[in-house]
């Protein structure tokens, strides 16, 4: 799966989870900023994404990730 395949599903999950409109989110956004979440909430979003994609992402792979695009790339590598 490519980053481009993952991205729309990621954005839709993030929007639903934090009550945002999916149109308001774009790939290059800092997800902490555009979702208004802290690092703990971000981690729980990543767990939800793992369930959606049926993968496990070690914490260290997402430690420096801040944008939807980069997160999609991490997921795409493992799907």
């Amino acid at each position: 799966m490519t980053t481009a395949d993952v991205l729309p599903r990621l954005l839709s999950l993030a929007a639903t989870r934090f009550g945002k409109s999916v149109d308001a989110l774009s790939a290059g956004d800092d997800f902490f900023e555009s979702l208004g979440i802290d690092s703990v909430e971000a981690m729980s979003m990543i767990t939800a994404l793992e369930e959606r994609f049926g993968i496990e992402i070690p914490d260290y792979e997402v430690q420096d990730v801040r944008t939807f695009e980069d997160l999609a790339a991490v997921i795409a590598r493992r799907v």
């Binding site: 800092d30 802290d38 703990v40 981690m43 729980s44 914490d59 260290y60």
Partner: protein
Amino acid sequence: MLEPAAYSSLGELLADALVQWKTETALLELDRARENARLRYSDVGRAVAPVARWLESVGVGPGDRVALMMSNQARWPIAALAVFLRGGVLVPLDYKLTGEEQAALLEHSGSRVLVTEAPLLRRMKTRPRVALLVSDATEAEAVGCTRFEDLVLEGEAPACVPRRRDDPACIVYSSGTGGRPKGCVLPHRAYLEQLGALLRLFPMRPGHRTFSVLPTNHAIDFMVGFVGPFACGATVVHQRTLRPEFLVSTMRDHAITHMALVPLLLAAFERALDERLDARPAWQRTALDLLGRANLELTRQRPSPDLSRRLLRPVHDAFGGKLEVLFCGGAFVDRARAERFYALGIPVAIGYGLTECCTVATVNDLRPFRADSVGRSVEGVEVSIHAPGPDGIGEVWIRGATLMLGYLDDPEQTARAITPDGWLRTGDLGWLDATQHLHLVGRSKNMIVTAGGKNIYPEDVEAAFDGVACEEFVVFASSYLWPRDVALTSEALVAVVRPRAGQSEAEVGRALSERNLRLPEHKRIEAWLPWAQTFPRTASLKVKRDPLAEQIRQGAGARSLLPLTAAPTAVFARSR
């Protein structure tokens, strides 16, 4: 428990623990729901031996520094124990720093060895030129270093090298931000004194299970998630992922009894609890609320975990039903949140300390529970208020056996931090009440502590704003500018900006927000203050911070701050 007063070094105490508690479970390592490792104290002894022999083979002897940089896992205490057995000085590095920051601290510490894990080594741009012991490395990565997995297991551990109480045990960096590193050199005496005092307040025993989630390099978890449980034959539980849902499920599945955390995690637990309670019918929530109030009345003088568990079973079941106490420190704890947990029968012991004085200087001993204060000084520690004003508020000074020997290779900063008669100037402002409980109100030093327990110095953040569109620019801690008006649970970084002629507030706000986004969340500026006067500067054109701060205090209050759109996410309701 092993009596710390009977030992002259951490190495001797920990070596004895491996024998004394040999049949008890020492370490339990989990990865999500899977169990990676379960080691009895005797197994830990067998795991320590090859690491200690390897350290010996690369020449580590008494007084040599060994850096340990690993996320929380069974190998952390195993490696630390091996260093102490060799008489080495442990340099625990924060695995959450950036690769550059880690490399700088490693270099500064003068360590001759680094024990780490491959994902962290990959983040360092260049491989450090020290002997390397690495876990989880691939064949290619293993060139030029030794893999944990390749150590030969058979054979005896070398005998514990004796150390004196005043010899250095650890060098702990008090702040990971840029600028001048401060390596606190803490002697064995500091740890042994602190350990004895804390275990008398919060006894542990075999069968207790401590959940180690804060990085163990952090002074609090080093005590609560390593040395404390080892001295008492308790079990340390590690979870390789720090997602809140796995933390809660680990607490539940492994009936955790003790845990150290920072306010950020306490907030996450409260959310997990609320989600669980919200799923219940309204009448049950009302009943729980009433039971919570009854519990608060019945346990006002001291906690009674058994009673609270019976009264509030659904709450306790969510956390495994055995929780005795949560230690919360590293930053400032929201009073209402701590009180809520106490009402639910989960005591939150609030402590206050600095890396410079080991783990804690003051702690709430829960007799009775009070969340309005950071507690009383622990045995062996003196706390005084220096030069108090008419309101009793002054700088908090600390003295006692738990103090560091000084900052590594930095007599200048050491002399600034510790007075000739041995008082540590904390830079925090506070007052002592009639029962000698300490109350913190603000800071006399320009820094903030985030809810995650990170110390942030405004000077280190300013570089990210170099060249931002304005005349003049400087960053302050709000708790330093207005120590009596800003609660320490809501302190933040704020910019003071002199706009250009004709530049609107909106323009300045946009320019700052844009730069803010480039910074990690905890280093972002939350608000800014427009300031029309020219900043006072030295002959070399550096901003004179203290005089400027004084001018601002005279001229503007915290209410004049303008919020920024890319501000950090508020964990607590900000009160200004």
